[in-house]
């Protein structure tokens, strides 16, 4: 007979509704391939078709190199524990440099060379392919410190695309169960800014909202109806392009306290939404938001300057 008398009562398990996990780590081998598919799906009929097709090819290049590169650097358990104690992200962005990250970037530049693109993009890429280590390190530092000189916006796209591969593969090795919230709007793995937030419909987290890191693609749980830039729960509202009576699946979550907005994607209504692809494809919303008092606070290297 089983030892039933030792089972402790646990009223919290009644109903069996699980608590949504704090963080969902990226899987680089699927992430970029899925994103490429989403870009492909969004392009036909869009005003941005040329750009979306181009980004689909960039995502495919990311996917290709992610699968070909040597295994990513592991995140040591002691680093994870130390970061946990200090409420810091286990990946130190300021330490991202060296041969491995440059090799990842150069691999992406080679792949991107074959992609059809306008002259300005081709010029920027040609310069990048000839850039020395020091120049590359400067661009990497600019991209990771979220301070991109306006003259290097085109170069930044390719550098950031390479960094996304490097960081997603690195973050994929983190221990999701040992992560702690760092601060509002800060990725608990790499300290990056969110690209957007998503209300997900995945099993075990139905209706929960996750911020998506613009750098390493880690998703972390944030309470709904809260500004993901300043953390305020007062004065949060939503704006969407009023095309018809249907409720939009991409909205701008605005905050009256800090005057900013970050897009929110309702993946529980449309599971094919991708934070990067749909942020770019919903540029029309950003253009309409320029006439409001709210400023775009999200960071997307494919969509800077709004």
């Amino acid at each position: 007979m089983s030892d039933t008398h030792t089972i402790q009562p646990d009223p919290s398990a009644i109903g069996g509704v699980p608590k949504a996990p704090f963080a969902l780590l990226p899987d680089a081998s699927r992430l970029f391939a899925r994103r490429a598919e989403r870009f492909d799906g969004l392009a036909p009929g869009s005003d941005l078709a040329a750009y979306l097709h181009f980004l689909a090819e960039i995502s495919r290049a990311q996917s290709d190199i992610a699968n070909d590169l040597p295994p990513a650097e592991p995140i040591l358990a002691e680093v994870t524990e130390r970061s946990r104690t200090g409420q810091m992200p286990p990946i130190d962005r300021s330490s991202v440099s060296g041969g491995q990250v440059r090799a990842t970037l150069r691999a992406l530049f080679e792949k991107a060379d074959a992609i059809e693109k306008p002259e300005q993009a081709a010029t920027a890429l040609a310069a990048l392919r000839q850039a020395d280590d020091a120049t590359l390190d400067t661009l990497i530092r600019d991209a990771l410190s979220d301070a991109i000189p306006v003259e290097t916006l085109a170069a930044n796209l390719f550098v950031s695309a390479g960094l996304q591969v490097h960081m997603a593969r690195w973050a994929g090795g983190a221990d999701a169960t040992r992560l702690v919230p760092v601060s509002v709007g800060v990725c608990p793995v790499c300290g990056g800014k969110p690209i957007a937030s998503m209300v997900v419909g995945v099993m075990g987290a139905e209706g929960a909202r996750y911020c998506v890191c613009s750098c390493c693609a880690t998703q972390w749980n944030e309470v709904r109806v809260k500004c993901v830039t300043c953390g305020s729960t007062k004065g949060v509202g939503y704006r969407s392009v009023a095309e018809d009576d249907r409720d939009a699946t991409v909205k701008a979550e605005v905050c009256d306290e800090c005057g900013s907005y970050v897009k929110i994607l309702y993946a529980n209504k449309n599971p094919s939404l991708d934070p990067v692809a749909d942020d770019v494809a919903s540029l029309g919303l950003d253009l309409l938001m320029r006439d409001t008092e709210y400023r775009r606070a999200a960071l997307n290297p494919y969509l800077l300057g709004y």
Partner: protein, 199 residues
């Protein structure tokens, strides 16, 4: 001006044509202009999501109320959807069948929005003001209490019971409201009292 952009680089990779956006500097400026032209006639729709507590029972599940329009911006708001609040520790996004039907409860044409009186001898309810309703309730309760209050039992022991009136209070109240309700009702001697409203 976007905070992420700075102008301080003199790197060789900098392109000749400097544009203020990624799209422009990549040579996709035409696509950007097409989007701008496409969305110009459109307006922004305002929606809100509001946290609240389900009023049905004392479990007090968290709910999210979606509405079109924002009252804070001087607009009228219409509730379009109500769902369980995934962040709420009590229900984690789930709702019972009654809670799941909350929107229909809000919009129901038969919903009680103000006090109504059905006087003796009629089958019709008529609208009353809160003053009228409270005065009438107080009058009837006082009369009933004066007629039926039991101060002492048959052995002469003081019991202060008022057994001919019952009191049903709301469930989704704060601790303070529940405390005040309890004190008022028990002080009056009412025995049949439920501060939970298992409707």
């Amino acid at each position: 001006m976007n905070m992420e952009l700075s102008r301080r680089s003199f790197l060789k990779v900098a392109g000749a044509g400097v544009a203020g956006t990624t799209l422009g500097s990549m040579g996709f400026g035409d696509a950007e202009a097409a989007v701008a032209a496409h969305v110009r006639p459109f307006k922004l729709a305002t929606t809100t999501e509001t946290r609240n507590t389900c009023t049905y029972c004392s479990v007090a599940c968290g709910i999210l109320i979606y509405s079109k329009g924002d009252v804070r911006k001087g607009e009228t708001a219409v509730i379009t959807h109500i769902e369980g609040d995934a962040d709420h520790p009590t229900n984690r996004g789930t709702l019972c069948p009654k809670g799941a039907a909350l929107k229909d409860f809000v919009h129901a044409p038969t919903r009680l929005k103000y006090p109504m009186i059905r006087k003796a001898g009629t089958d019709k309810f008529e609208r009353a003001s809160w003053d009228q309703a409270l005065d009438r309730i107080a009058r009837l309760m006082k009369d009933d209490r004066d007629a039926n209050f039991i101060a002492k039992n048959e052995k002469g022991v003081p019991v202060n019971r008022w057994t001919t009136v019952g009191f049903l209070a709301a469930s989704a109240t704060s601790n303070e409201t529940a405390y005040a309700t309890y004190k008022v009702v028990r002080s009056a001697g009412i025995v049949a009292f439920d501060n939970q409203a298992r409707v």
